[in-house]
């Protein structure tokens, strides 16, 4: 799908929200839902940031770290990939306080989702690094670069482009997983929707708006990632036209 299609879809979904909002039955719920959407976006953005940091660190530690670091990274990836995000949320929010560590619900949401997606992300990073041709490492060796120099200057810049599409998937996964945080007292978009539904039983307008809002947010992520991909591959693609 081209960027144009994605932008058109985003435009249509926003337009539909705007048109629906002209009706009183829909307009009634809009402010509350938008409030929830803001919280959803905050968690998604901070969680994604944490996921990228964890993904890159875990991948590098697993591939090039000394034994203890490698071991630690493997344990991290397997635990956070191998258990459900919901259980991780509950554990951090309800179990940790039993050991005397109480974390703010918002912080727990960002931590759990970021660590969870970061564990998947580390595999994307690893795959992307491994997809860089071996000759690139050899050229670096022939220029007497250190492994860290090769990684930083030669390998990661090339791997970065290969990482963008799978990370796009993960960011959207993370965005949708934020719905789970409604179970640890946070008033995100999904929580607001459920609450309003229980109070008013206006299921159709509420969940139609919620659906469109999630769609608009994930389309924004898709478009952003496409633009990033285009920009990042500029140098590499430039020659194809020549």
């Amino acid at each position: 799908m081209g960027i144009r299609t994605l932008v058109a879809m985003l435009f249509v979904s926003l337009a539909v929200i705007a048109v629906l909002a002209t009706q009183a039955t829909y307009r009634l719920f809009l402010p509350g839902l938008l409030q929830g959407a803001v919280l959803t976006m905050e968690i998604a953005i901070l969680g994604s940031l944490l996921a990228v940091i964890m993904g890159v660190l875990a991948a590098l530690a697993r591939m090039y770290g000394p034994a203890p670091l490698r071991w630690l990274a493997t344990v991290y990836v397997e635990i956070f990939r191998g258990t459900s995000a919901l259980v991780q949320l509950f554990w951090l929010f309800f179990v940790l306080p039993q050991f005397g560590v109480t974390l703010d619900a918002f912080l727990v949401a960002v931590l759990a989702l970021g660590l969870n997606v970061g564990a998947y992300g580390s595999e994307c990073v690893r795959g992307a690094i491994q997809s860089v041709a071996r000759g690139q490492w050899e050229a670096g060796t022939a220029l007497n670069m250190s492994r860290a120099q090769m990684l930083r200057r030669i390998i990661l810049p090339q791997a970065f482009i290969a990482m963008i599409p799978p990370w796009g998937n993960l960011f959207i996964e993370l965005l949708k997983s934020t719905a789970l945080v409604s179970l640890i007292t946070l008033s995100d978009l999904a929580f607001k929707a459920q609450q309003m539904n229980q109070n008013t039983f206006k299921t159709i307008p509420i969940f139609t708006l919620v659906l469109l809002m999630y769609l608009a947010m994930s389309l924004t992520v898709s478009i952003g990632m496409r633009l990033l991909e285009k920009r990042a591959s500029l140098g590499l693609a430039r020659g194809k036209a020549a």
């Binding site: 060796t141 220029l143 007497n144 430039r238 020659g239």
Partner: protein
């Protein structure tokens, strides 16, 4: 005191599992000497260059560069396997050009040539750029310095790769079938550059090549590899003109036949 050889392979072997690629190789290369390595595929000739560039480990023997061990270091009077710092210190003397160019695709020709001088040698950007500009000019590509590898022909890419290697001021240059991936009409421009650096720079050169004409005209010595050993070596006139070994004769005959 007799002069140290620039490179010395001392009884070096390389095995991959049960397969022996190089079998007790002994080879000395003098300072400034141009040595061509020829032989059928699988004879271990590329492995010789890759071991010297430390792209392959060795199983037996020692490789010496200017009288210092490359693969090993002295410790309490004995040789132990070298650590990375030691390898990097010795490896700084060696540069290599690859069959498949291996330019950094996300960097322009100029950026390719200043990357390692800045990050490895710690040169100032302006100095590195001046030096790279000189080298790109020498390989005839000063007009293309801001082009990315994908915008260059194979011959141009390989010439950038040669400039990039020279920018590190190596004493030894390794050329691994550097014209094999090129269209026939682009081979000449690359060989011309190699001829020129052979004349203008005081470099020791070791090249694996299938260009027999070039090996004959350019080298001081030609080594014919067969089954992991040097089967025959000598001045190009002798080796090409009157090969003593039956295998050499067969190989040269087959190559000339192919034309």
């Amino acid at each position: 005191m007799t002069e140290q050889p620039m490179v010395r392979f001392d009884n070096v072997s390389k095995r991959y599992g049960a397969l022996t690629v190089l079998n007790g190789l002994n080879l000395e290369i003098a300072r400034g000497e141009k040595v061509s390595v020829i032989g059928p595929s699988g004879s271990g000739k590329t492995t010789v260059l890759r071991m010297l560039m430390t792209l392959e480990t060795i199983n037996d023997g020692v490789i010496w560069v200017e009288g210092e061990p490359l693969t090993h270091m002295q410790q309490g009077g004995t040789l132990v396997p070298a650590n990375l710092a030691h390898i990097r210190r010795i490896r700084a003397k060696i540069g290599m050009v690859f069959q498949s160019f291996n330019l950094f695709p996300h960097m322009t020709a100029m950026a390719n040539c200043i990357e390692a001088p800045i990050t490895v040698l710690g040169m100032k950007r302006a100095d590195a750029e001046a030096r790279a500009a000189e080298l790109l000019d020498m390989v005839g590509l000063s007009q293309k310095k801001d082009h990315y590898p994908s915008q260059l022909s194979g011959g141009q890419q390989q010439r950038v790769a040669i400039a990039r290697a020279l920018a590190m001021r190596p004493k030894i240059m390794l050329f691994d079938e550097v014209t094999s991936a090129l269209d026939p009409e682009l081979v000449g421009e690359v060989l011309q550059v190699i001829r020129q650096i052979g004349r203008e720079h005081d470099l020791t050169m070791l090249m694996v090549t299938h260009q027999m004409g070039f090996a004959k005209e350019f080298s001081d010595r030609v080594c014919f590899f067969y089954q992991g050993k040097i089967c025959e070596q000598g001045p190009p006139g002798e080796l090409f003109g009157a090969p003593k070994n039956e295998r050499t004769r067969q190989f040269l005959h087959a190559v000339l036949e192919a034309g």
